[in-house]
């Protein structure tokens, strides 16, 4: 399985993402620049965190119109796993691949610390290696992670079991219903504010994020590797 880490001007978690996939997960991965014409050769698409285009106008608003995003939409439509972390999540929201929008954190502060998450749905290609209701620790680092959507959208998210991760205990940013990560209806596009790629090594404080990447690979293998 081959992953692409999309690099926008201003991405700054691309190296962490690359490291998590290559060194900790042990899968093929390549950096792909924002003006790339094709993602056909990749099986999984990773949109890293950072401040694409300096967060000008709104987080993710400019990146959403970069060339490669047409290809990301195509990959999403083809059913390939697409993961957006932090700014990557914001870009997926702006692109309309996920519903809702981000507001400034309720405290107006940039928050950077490990938080507890609860796995609300472990029946997705991103969360199958976790137990349902498992509590994991993953770092957050954002100023705009206060998720919002209208009531109708929220009801739909709940009905379809699209809320994958919630903040456990205290909510760091004021997000609706403690939402930390949501998936699209089809189940192949996940956006989350916490950084699983920063939690892949016990030596660096915890490895709870690794199972997310392992889930993706497991699902892909089951779907693609021909059984002997």
């Amino acid at each position: 399985m081959r992953f692409a880490v999309i690099v926008f001007p201003g991405s700054n978690c691309d190296v962490d993402m690359y490291h998590a996939v290559k060194d900790e997960l042990g899968a093929d991965v390549e950096y792909v620049w924002h003006d790339a014409e094709s993602l056909d050769e990749f099986d999984g698409i990773l949109l890293p965190g950072g401040f694409s285009y300096g967060d000008y106008l709104r987080s993710g608003a400019i990146a959403r119109f970069s060339n490669v995003m047409k290809e990301v939409v195509k990959a999403a439509e083809a059913g390939k796993p697409v993961l957006g972390v932090c700014n990557g999540f914001q870009i997926l929201l702006e692109a309309g691949l996920l519903p809702g929008a981000m507001r400034r954190n309720e405290s107006l502060k940039f928050i950077c610390r490990p938080v507890e998450l609860k796995v609300e749905n472990n029946e997705t290609m991103f969360s199958s290696a976790y137990e349902k209701d498992e509590v994991i620790t993953i770092p957050i680092a954002h100023g705009e992670g206060n998720y919002y959507c209208d009531e109708e959208t929220l009801a739909k998210l709940k009905d379809n079991n699209q809320i994958v991760f919630t903040y456990n205990g205290s909510n760091p940013n004021g997000s609706l219903e403690n939402i930390a990560g949501i998936i699209n209806e089809k189940g192949n596009v996940l956006g989350m504010m916490p950084h699983p790629e920063r939690a892949v090594d016990e030596l660096l404080g915890g490895a709870d994020g690794l199972k997310l990447f392992q889930s993706i690979v497991k699902q892909w293998r089951e779907a693609h590797v021909v059984k002997a």
């Binding site: 106008l57 709104r58 608003a61 119109f65 929201l93 702006e94 519903p99 809702g100 929008a101 507001r103 400034r104 954190n105 309720e106 405290s107 107006l108 206060n146 919002y148 959507c149 209208d150 004021g174």
Partner: protein
């Protein structure tokens, strides 16, 4: 040539944490008559005349990029700029 002023604010139904902080600050300064503050963005665009209706073009740009209509409202003013 048109000069277009675009105002983008958070929707009424969406809590504006920046606006709330500024309101609280104004109250601390004894401006207790302030009942609400909403913080938004102001953009000025110079748009060349084309065969498309300028209002239609501005609405399209607002919907697609300048505002995020999930959480933001926008309004605009169009002035015809006098040639220098």
């Amino acid at each position: 040539m048109y000069k277009v002023k675009v105002f983008v604010t958070l929707r009424e139904s969406v809590l504006d944490p920046q606006g709330t902080a500024v309101k609280n600050s104004l109250h601390t300064m004894n401006y207790n008559e302030v009942s609400d503050v909403r913080i938004g963005k102001f953009m000025e665009l110079n748009i060349e005349k084309s065969d498309r209706d300028v209002e239609e073009v501005v609405i399209e740009m607002c919907e697609r990029l300048l505002a995020n209509v999930v959480i933001e409202d926008y309004r605009f003013e169009i002035e015809e700029a006098v040639a220098q």
